[in-house]
Symmetry: C2
Subunit: 356 residues, 2 copies
């Protein structure tokens, strides 16, 4: 604490990201990274890049990247916003659209950064409880609000809403912005981008960190009506004119263009997820149906914290949240087949685990 | 304008960066970029980088980069903050330290992004006029304030303050944060980093975009007391855990370590600047003494806007600001010797220019 800090800074509770261990030999299933390297086209983009150009400022508008996203999603370039990871896109979204007198509505269990942004920008939040089966209860998002945000599929539960459910929400909630955070959508859920033409208050946020294997390059984007994108651009250009460096722009553009690689790797992860689910069920876990690149599981008899510690002693990292309601669950990222075999085999060696 | 925007967003006046033309054959002296490519060590860092790692999140703390900066400037790592360009560092600085009841003091002519940040975060500003010779009048920064910020050397004037002048300000201004933005300091001015141990309210901001030829990679940093750095980390971790991608971290670290290349290229730019000054004087320009990689010049008879247009028709871009008080000046970046010869020769062809 310092007398020099702005007052609001004193009460911040910053987000704590998952651990990034520096050693090798660790099986890292704790931050939902993709087990596959980025597309070969990403490598080629880096190796063909003329590094002398790094002396110049990058394109402040990331025009080539926006064009590739517009082409890929069949929207216009003025419906695309890009940022330094979807975290930056979300931060600007809170600033641009959620600072209203009415509270922001969000699930009580979701990406924990949402509360951090709200706190940073002084936004009132009303948390809406998940249903008992961990589904987002969109019917309960009915009061007057200054905005709605949720992740679909939700994190860390992995559960997805249908497009019909989201459509129904948008039909009745027309006076505030609805943000659908689709960080994990490519692993089996349905994107709401197809509703963007219909609803000028819908903003869909995605990232290249998960399904495009580019967490290391920090690129996220939002797709919505031109009037929402214009609001985001105003915030961005009042904050940092050049959020994406040259190499982030060229690698992200290459990753978006390589649809074949994207399809192949996401399908493989879905296949490995289903295998992992079966194995975990056979070891006495309860599983929430996941449409993401992770599973959210609790064991019938053994505490999650105990299992996390056990895996950790065997160099396998998974994530555990101490938040009441989910503190007996593990969030396990889907790695390669080999990594998931190793994780399952490790669990089988736990003294209290009995294969069924 | 949209009913969905937060109210404060409606009154924003975003920053407008200098033009980034997409064609080649243009002599680009309009955004103070370095004419030399980045250090060969930067190229090597990119080519040796294992691109498979891009599937993982980067180090959220940029530890290796912070260590290289701490070593270079003889401070501790907890006195170093890094961000996505000094623009992001400055944005977080405004959020962390300047939101107080008293106004922020800054020069009336300086980096125009300062007013944009203040507007974004709802900070009152009191502009202190420059002296008639364009020097920052630090003696006039005496009223109660919620912070002080200025660029040293100042932009777009190029004028530098001495360390003694900054020291005197810090002696009398102890209750608010003083930010010295040293984007251009390496071209002949003296850094205030050596005062950081003495004054816990001093924050010095620098960038790798100018003297390290890395504008394309977007890396800036701040050095100050641990308590100020902690305040910035709280904002950063409430905004974006991973502001620097992996390649930004490795290229910036390499650039900081190559002191020999840095010294050689900055010295060359200083030499070319002095040559350019002499030539401009001989063509009837008035020059403000510059400690930066640009000169700020006005012609005795010919209007700046006219000269900018003339150069532009010959594929040479320089910057002109329409702000009253400086609207008859050109800001001309120092390029290579060849580029400056071309610029001078072009001016000589202007019908109203008479060599003296």
């Amino acid at each position: 604490m310092s007398k020099y800090w702005s007052e609001a800074i004193r009460s911040l509770t910053p987000y704590v990201p998952g651990e990034q261990p520096k050693g090798s030999n660790i099986i890292k299933l704790n931050t939902n990274e993709n087990p596959f390297p980025p597309s070969p086209m990403v490598l080629e983009a880096i190796h063909q890049f003329d590094t002398d150009r790094l002396r110049l400022y990058p394109d402040p508008d990331s025009s080539a990247l926006k064009q590739s996203l517009a082409d890929h999603f069949h929207v216009k370039t003025d419906q695309v916003f890009v940022g330094n990871g979807s975290d930056e896109v979300l931060a600007h979204t809170f600033m641009a659209f959620f600072r209203h007198p009415e509270p922001l509505l969000m699930p009580d269990i979701s990406y924990s950064f949402y509360d951090v942004y709200a706190n940073l920008y002084g936004i009132d939040v009303r948390h809406i409880p998940l249903q008992d089966d961990f589904c987002i209860a969109l019917d309960d998002y009915s009061e007057a609000n200054g905005g709605i945000i949720f992740a679909n599929p939700n994190a860390p539960t992995g559960r997805a809403l249908t497009l019909d459910q989201i459509n129904a929400l948008l039909q009745r909630n027309t006076e505030s912005v609805v943000v659908v955070d689709e960080a994990y959508v490519d692993f089996g859920a349905e994107t709401a981008i197809k509703l963007v033409e219909q609803y000028s208050n819908l903003l869909v946020v995605q990232t290249l960190s998960k399904s495009r294997s580019l967490a290391g390059m920090r690129v996220g984007f939002a797709i919505g009506s031109a009037e929402l994108i214009d609001g985001l651009e105003r915030v961005k250009n009042s904050f940092n004119s050049y959020p994406l460096d040259m190499l982030a722009q060229v690698t992200a553009t290459a990753a978006i263009k390589d649809v074949a690689y994207f399809t192949q790797t996401t399908q493989q992860i879905i296949k490995t997820r289903e295998w992992t689910n079966e194995q975990l069920l056979a070891l006495g876990f309860k599983i929430i149906p996941s449409k993401t690149n992770f599973v959210f599981a609790s064991h019938r008899y053994i505490e999650a914290a105990e299992l996390m510690g056990f895996l950790r002693t065997h160099q396998i990292l998974v994530r555990h949240f101490s938040r009441p309601g989910i503190d007996n669950h593990l969030r396990i990222t889907i790695g390669t087949e080999e990594e998931m075999h190793a994780m399952i085999n490790c669990l089988k060696r736990h003294p209290d685990i009995i294969s069924m």
